[in-house]
Every structure is written in structure tokens, then in C-alpha cells.
Symmetry: C2
Subunit: 158 residues, 2 copies
DNA sequence: GATCGTATGATATAACATATCAACCCCATC
DNA sequence: GATGGGGTTGATATGTTATATCATACGATC
């Protein structure tokens, strides 16, 4: 997946590849990818948009994997803590990671029309956040880089 | 105020200058800086940290300026829409603008220890968000640039 | 088989945000 | 001075997101 991932693609492979990578990484790192956790990852992978915790919870509930908010939040915490998913602060919602392979400083492009969210790779060291932080003597532990606007498909019609 | 504003300073002037600027700008643009709106701005200016809508509402309530959530959210909407305050997405909270003078692409540095939030100026065109968006053909309407970590005062002790 | 760590289950509540409708006020115009 | 429109406010209710807390289950290890 490239940074221009607003384009059409074989989406089944997104899900399959994402789950397969997660399974392998969890095995390597002795992380427990339990049924609920894996299912939440699949749910997130099933769409290139951010999903709220309660939307995810509805799926889990329908499948008998849990019905109370902490069920979803615990799975999401596991996934985000270990890099399998990201939280989109602007939307108070979550999305599967598109770049499981490499450590990264993701930038998210959020289309307000079609709701698609694309995760692109940035070079943190060249970004304005790090430049500003360095100048101020501030130690960055987590950086949020999100843009909201219109994707190439939606911009013309809007 | 510079981008190193974690430093000590005459804080009374922050409040006075901020309100005075807002009064002037509202006059110029025919914006109504009503009692509640001005008071919310003062409340935000009174601390260099982000405040939640309900925390602000408590102040308003104590002063007889309103007691229900919409009162706070309406004032905050006015202030953010017109650039007198900013929303910190990471915290679901709000902070007074430190750079009323110039149009800007703010970067926020959020100290998780002392809770101070500093607004620094970035050069949007040089940032990673805009670079990535340009490459993807994405039209940015709003960009979120927030770093969470430790300020120069808190980093040593943590 | 006792203990420990990790994960789940279950209930309640905190925190953040908006929809809706009625009332009010200013002020521009007739 | 009456009329009407725009913006603002008041009040109620509700929707949405997130966490605290306590209890339970289960496998690993000693």
C-alpha cells in the first residue's frame, strides 16, 4: 500500500495480509492475539475508515464475543499499544495500521466526504512538530499528525 | 510569547492582552463578543493548559453565566471558529490562542506531567502533513499537529 | 494445589458533545 | 412605532465516547 491509497485495490488481501502479519508478529513477540483481539483487528481491516469503539462493539456483540464497552476498549488498547492499529484523535476512532512492517511516524489523511482514512508515512525528523519541539526542548513521546479534508475522488464533486 | 513559552513570564499580561486583542478584532469584524464568550476566553487565558468544556462550564455556572453544556460549547464554538481559541484533539479540550496576530498553522506541545500546553508556530508548507497531502492529491482543510511528551521543566524529574 | 500474571466479565458512571424548540433582543426597514 | 429577520440565549433531553471498579476464569510455574 502506497501513500496514494485512495486508489482502488484488491481489498481482500488487505485483510488477509494484515491478519497474517499480526499473527506472525505476535508469535515473535510473545503477544497473545486472542479471539476478541484478532476479530477487532479484522473488523478494522475490513474498511479503510476509522471506526468508533461502540461500532466495533456492536460487531462483537452480534458475534457473541462480548457486549460491554471494556471488551472493545481492551482489544483496541492491545492493538494500538502494539502498533496493529492507530487511534485517530480527530475522530475519536480507530483504524488498522497499514504499515505493520516498519516503525513509523504516520500521517493520516481523513476525507470528510467519503470517510476514507489513509495512513501515509512521514519522515518525523523533517516534520514541523519535531522541529518545533527540538527548539523548545520538548521531549516528544507521541505525535499526532492528522489532516481533514477531501480526497482526490471527492474533491472535484464537492 | 515565543515558541519556548514553557518559560516563566508575566502572566497577567497574557490575560489582559488576549482579551484586549479579542475586543479589538471583534469590533473590526463585527463579531459579538458577548459576556459569556468573553468570560470563556478569560477563563482559557487564565491558564496555559487545555480545559474541558465541563470544567469551563463550572466556572460559568458559579458566576451565573449559564449552567448547561450548550452554553459552554456555543462560546467555545464562537472562539474557535474565529481563531481566539483552539481545540486540542488529543485532550478533547480547549486552549486560548497565543498568536492572535497572525494567521497560523499551530503546533501544540502538550506536557503530560504538568499539563501545560504551548502553541508554537509552524511553517505549514514545510511540514510533513502538507508534503504527504500534496503527494496524494488530498485537499487539506484542517490539520492537527500535536505532540504529547515532557516539557523542559518536567523532563529531568521524570 | 497454591500462587501469580494475564485476560475477561459485568456494572456503573464519568466525560464529552449535540439536537431541538422556545424565548429574547437588537436593529433595520417600512 | 410596528414588523420581521438574524443572531443569541435558555432549557431539556439525549447521544456518544471512555474509564473506574470489582469480580471471575484460566493457564503457567513452583
Amino acid at each position: 500500500m502506497t501513500s496514494q491509497a485512495f486508489e482502488a485495490h484488491d481489498h481482500r488481501s488487505c485483510i488477509a495480509a494484515g491478519v497474517a502479519s499480526a499473527v506472525q508478529i505476535c508469535a515473535e513477540r510473545n503477544l497473545q492475539l486472542t479471539a476478541a483481539r484478532q476479530r477487532v483487528l479484522e473488523i478494522l481491516l475490513s474498511e479503510h475508515r476509522a471506526m468508533g469503539a461502540y461500532e466495533i462493539l456492536e460487531h462483537l456483540r452480534a458475534e457473541g464475543l462480548g457486549s460491554q464497552p471494556p471488551v472493545a476498549y481492551r482489544a483496541l488498547e492491545f492493538l494500538t499499544k502494539n502498533g496493529f492499529a492507530h487511534r485517530i484523535e480527530r475522530l475519536n476512532a480507530f483504524i488498522a495500521c497499514s504499515h505493520l512492517d516498519n516503525a513509523h511516524a504516520p500521517v493520516f489523511l481523513i476525507c470528510r466526504a467519503c470517510e476514507r482514512v489513509v495512513e501515509a508515512e512521514a519522515n518525523a525528523a523533517q516534520g514541523e512538530i519535531d522541529r518545533v519541539a527540538r527548539r523548545a526542548g520538548f521531549v516528544v513521546e507521541r505525535a499526532v499528525r492528522e489532516a481533514e479534508g477531501l480526497c482526490p475522488a471527492c474533491a472535484p464533486t464537492a
